[in-house]
């Protein structure tokens, strides 16, 4: 393993950040403080964190609707993330984007898309910019198993392969698109099986194991930076919560069995990562506990910060529409 103690602990810290962040969002939502949709990332933390651990600050990421985890994994400030979700001025987007749009361009977080798969071409374009401007940053886009069926993915992968773009297509296969099993929406066994149709490597990886995701991404990043082109990675993961906050009120019938959910939850990515750190002698139980409790405080502070941040003023409505106002 090429990761050292500090890196592994930072990964653990970020996974905890995401987990507690999401738990806070769920609590806030059920209190009625948050009205819009929000899609918890709980259960998938190892994917975002493993992938972003292989990236530099100037590498770009783009995400999806289920995208609280991605910006946090990339190093985004949880205070500003939480403020955004509450629609406050101190949010990443001054409250204009919300849960599905947590961007921080200053550290390569190009934002997410509520329209499924719509950020895949955007990330491909970021990689094109890297190539054209002879920089060596890479772009990585997170998208779901459901998203993989959109034409936007096909077009982007074809272009990226044709032009050897430094882009990583990271499909988070959590088994479902809302209630639709990926077995009923993807016509082959694995999304990564489709890589060969573009002439790029397709890598299937355990998405509950942050280190495995890091390894696959690290190799894809190496390829990308070396000008060898794109990689399609499929991380098998699971969403522990319902599709979206509030949707549990709508989805009454079962679309996944409780046995399946229970089984999947046994492979908690935080537990797995913590166990690896300890069993390999990188960290002690106490050190891990310490990380957890620091993160808990950080999230409490983020909620506090977000709650105290003011709402935008009516006069802010038209700001940010145009670079040169019309």
């Amino acid at each position: 393993m090429a990761l050292d103690k500090q890196q592994l602990e930072e990964m653990y810290r970020r996974m905890c950040l995401i987990r507690y962040f999401e738990e806070a969002v769920i609590a806030i939502h059920s209190s009625g403080e948050l009205i819009g949709p929000a899609h918890p990332y709980i259960g998938q933390e190892a994917v975002a964190v493993g992938a972003c651990a292989a990236l530099r600050d100037d590498d770009r990421i783009a995400g999806s609707h289920r995208s609280h985890g991605h910006p946090i994994a990339k190093g985004g400030d949880v205070k500003r993330a939480m403020a955004e979700i509450l629609g406050k001025v101190d949010g990443f987007c001054k409250g204009k984007g919300g849960s599905m749009h947590l961007a921080d361009f200053s550290i390569g977080i190009l934002g997410e898309s509520g329209i499924v798969a719509s950020s895949v071409p955007i990330a491909t374009g970021a990689a094109l910019a890297s190539k054209l401007s002879k920089k060596d940053f890479v772009a990585l886009v997170f998208f779901g198993d459901g998203a993989s069926n959109q034409g936007a993915c096909h077009e982007s992968m074809n272009m990226a392969a044709l032009w050897d773009l430094p882009v990583i297509f990271l499909c988070e296969n959590n088994g479902y698109a809302i209630t639709t099993s990926y077995k009923n929406s993807v016509s082959v066994d694995h999304v990564s099986d489709r890589a060969s149709a573009y002439g790029m490597p397709g890598v299937l990886v355990d998405g509950q194991d942050a280190i495995a995701v890091w390894e696959a991404t690290d190799e894809a990043v190496r390829r990308a930076r070396a000008g060898e082109g794109p990689t399609l990675i499929e991380a098998m993961t699971y969403r522990f919560e319902e599709h979206s906050l509030g949707l549990d009120r709508i989805i009454k019938s079962e679309y996944r069995s409780s046995e399946e959910v229970e089984e999947a939850m046994k492979r908690d990515p935080l537990v797995i990562h913590r166990a690896t750190m300890i069993s390999h002698g990188f960290s002690t139980e106490a050190e891990c506990d310490e990380i957890e409790s620091t993160v808990k405080t950080e999230i409490d502070e983020a909620v506090e910060f977000a709650r105290n941040s003011p709402y935008p003023e009516p006069g802010d409505l038209y700001d940010d529409m145009w670079a040169t106002p019309v």
């Binding site: 009205i35 629609g87 509520g114 459901g146 809302i178 209630t179 409505l317």
Partner: protein, 327 residues
Amino acid sequence: MPVKTYIQAIQEATIEEMQRDPTVFMMGEDLRKSVYGATAGLVEQFGEDRIIDTPLSENGFFGAALGASLCGMRPIVETVTSFLWVGMDQLISQAAKMRYMFGGQAELPVTFRIRMFYARGAAAHHSDRNYPVFMNTPGLKIICPTNAYDAKGLLKTAIRDNDVCMFFEDGIAISSRTEVPDNEDLPGGELLVPFGVANTVRAGSDVTVVGIAGGVQHALDAAKTLETEGISLEVIDPRTLVPLDMETILKSVERTGRLVVVDPAHKVCSAASEIAATVAQEGFWSLQAPIQVVASEQVNVPYSPALEPLIYPTPEKVVAAVRVVLD
């Protein structure tokens, strides 16, 4: 008379038409588990062949619905305004144009049921009110029911219609409840609302207020407020935008001399603009005051609960517009 929600009305219309005609079937995302609420129990009743869950491929399955309709089927497609952009090519280049382009050979009995969310913190990506965009290209019938009665009657008409119907389900109207008669109490035994016939929801004499989609309720609320001041609004709900019953609107303006149009869509090139322009052309001599359009601010939909409510029409904005035309 039983009171029903908009969603119930849609579900009833669907079930009745599916029972009546075996070529009617549904395509869409997560229909079987009824994520958008109007398809609960349908797969149990009609089977997987008639309630088809599609992959996330709007352009693909919109087109597949069109292709199936060319071969004798009558698909109902469920989707959301904001996802129409993804399938736009099939909607404009094929749905709107095929029949004409093929000299009338193509029958396209497809109904797109389109949920229109807004005003609930869903941000710019999930808050489109884009029916005006589909009015520009000829070939699509545009239906905007504003209550459960119309939702049922217009949906049944749409499913039986042999043209492509785009049925916009206003996210504000969706939670409303209206009286919807039982079939046995109806002459003919069923509820069918014709296209192109506006509904004068409230008769009045001072100002004509045309409400579109969620705009109707704002108009009615404004009418109530102004009633106390002795100002009488005539509120018209066109119900369908293509075909559009301009006659009813023009006749009303002839009497009132004043027009306010309320449209939750973005103002520029909106349905409200079209109605205003037509009245400025054909009803000009009736007008005694400037036409007022109350539509959404020309800004993307902000997420923040502190900003989003500012952009849409409200009863207060309608009241203010009425005062302008009466000034």
